[in-house]
C-alpha cells in the first residue's frame, strides 16, 4: 500500500490545482467547482490520517471520518446556497464573469 507521504502529496497537489483554478479562472461557476475540489482534497488528508492512526483496538481512528462526514454535509449546503446566489447574480447582471462584477472594487 502507498505510504502516508504519498497520500498527503496527492491531497496537497489537488488542493494546489483547486487554488490555481480559483485564482486563474473567471467563470464564477468554475471557481465554485474548484472550491469543492479543495474541500475534497482536505477530506483526503483527514481520511489518510484516520487510516494511518490505528488505535489500541487495531482499527482506524473513526473521529477523522466523522469529521469528513460533517464536511461533506456542510459542502452540500454550501453548494445549494452558492448556486442560488449565482442565479440571483445572473438575474441582476446577466453575467457570470468575475471581471465584470466590479461594483465592490474600491
Amino acid at each position: 500500500m502507498a505510504s502516508l507521504q504519498e497520500y498527503l502529496f496527492v491531497s496537497g497537489l489537488l488542493f494546489a490545482i483547486g487554488l490555481a483554478g480559483v485564482l486563474v479562472r473567471r467563470n464564477i461557476i468554475v471557481i465554485f467547482m474548484c472550491l469543492e475540489l479543495m474541500l475534497s482534497a482536505a477530506n483526503l488528508t483527514l481520511v489518510a490520517f484516520s487510516r494511518f492512526n490505528t488505535g489500541p483496538d487495531g482499527l482506524p481512528d473513526y473521529n477523522g471520518q466523522v469529521l469528513v462526514f460533517f464536511i461533506i454535509t456542510v459542502a452540500a449546503a454550501e453548494v445549494a446556497v452558492g448556486l442560488a446566489i449565482i442565479v440571483a447574480l445572473y438575474r441582476a447582471r446577466q453575467t457570470v464573469d468575475v471581471e465584470d462584477l466590479t461594483s465592490m472594487r474600491g
Partner: protein, 220 residues
C-alpha cells in the same frame, strides 16, 4: 498491486482536476470534476473508508454535479471567449501561489513518518471488542463484533458508534460525543434550505417583467 491502483486512481484524480481548470466549456469542467471526485472516492476506498467513499460518489459525483450542470444549463452559459484584455497578473498569481504552497508541502513531507499503514487485524479487533463488551456485561454480541469476527470491516457501524456513542459506552471508542454537532449541522441544513428559497424567490412584480429576468425574456 495496491500501489499500482493508488498511482492509477491518484493520476485519474489529478488529471481530472487539471482538466477542470483547463477546459473552457463549463459543462466539460463539470464532467472532469466528476472524474476527479471518482478518483478521490477510489482513494478513500483504498484507505478502508468504504462509507466515506460511497458518500463521496453519491453526494459529490451525484447530487452536487447534477446541481452544477443544472445551473449551467439553466443560465445557458457558453464557453468563455477570450477578451482582448486579459490581466496576466492573474495567471502569474494563479501559478505562483499554488507553486509556493507545493514547495512548502515538499519541505514538510520529509518530516512525516513514511510508513506503510498497519494492516488491519480484524480478528484481534473482534477479540478486543468482545472483552470490552463482556466488561460492560452485555448479553448479546454487537453487530460490530459479529462482522469483525467474520473478517469484515463494519465501518458504517463504527462511524455510527463514534458519532452517536457516549463516552462511557465502550472503552474502545474514543468519541468526544457528536450528538450536539450533529444537531447543529441539522440546523445548518435547515437554514440553508430556507435561505435558498428566500434567495430564489422573486419579488412580486406588478405584471411588468424585470428587464434582467432570464425566464421572462421575450420569445424571439
Amino acid at each position: 498491486m495496491e500501489g499500482l491502483f493508488f498511482y492509477a486512481f491518484s493520476g485519474f484524480a489529478v488529471i481530472g482536476a487539471l482538466a477542470l481548470v483547463a477546459f473552457k466549456n463549463p459543462v466539460s469542467s463539470a464532467m472532469s470534476m466528476v472524474a476527479s471526485f471518482l478518483g478521490l472516492a477510489a482513494l478513500f476506498i483504498s484507505l478502508n473508508a468504504y462509507f466515506v467513499g460511497i458518500i463521496q460518489i453519491l453526494v459529490y459525483a451525484g447530487a452536487i454535479m447534477v446541481l452544477f450542470v443544472f445551473i449551467i444549463m439553466l443560465l445557458d452559459l457558453k464557453a468563455e471567449e477570450r477578451k482582448t484584455k486579459y490581466n496576466p497578473l492573474f495567471l502569474v498569481g494563479g501559478v505562483f501561489i499554488p507553486l509556493v504552497f507545493l514547495i512548502q508541502l515538499c519541505g514538510i513531507l520529509p518530516h512525516v513518518p513514511n510508513a506503510e499503514p498497519e494492516p488491519l487485524h480484524l480478528k484481534e479487533s473482534a477479540r478486543y471488542f468482545y472483552d470490552q463488551e463482556k466488561e460492560a456485561s452485555k448479553e448479546e454480541q454487537s453487530e460490530i463484533h459479529k462482522s469483525l469476527s467474520k473478517g469484515d470491516l463494519p465501518d458504517v457501524n463504527l462511524i455510527g458508534l463514534t458519532m452517536f456513542g457516549h463516552k462511557g459506552d465502550n472503552e474502545t471508542i474514543k468519541t468526544p460525543g457528536y450528538n450536539f454537532p450533529l444537531q447543529i449541522v441539522g440546523v445548518l441544513l435547515l437554514v440553508a434550505t430556507v435561505g435558498v428559497v428566500a434567495l430564489s424567490l422573486r419579488k412580486k412584480t406588478t405584471g411588468e417583467p424585470e428587464p434582467g429576468d432570464p425566464d421572462s425574456r421575450p420569445e424571439p
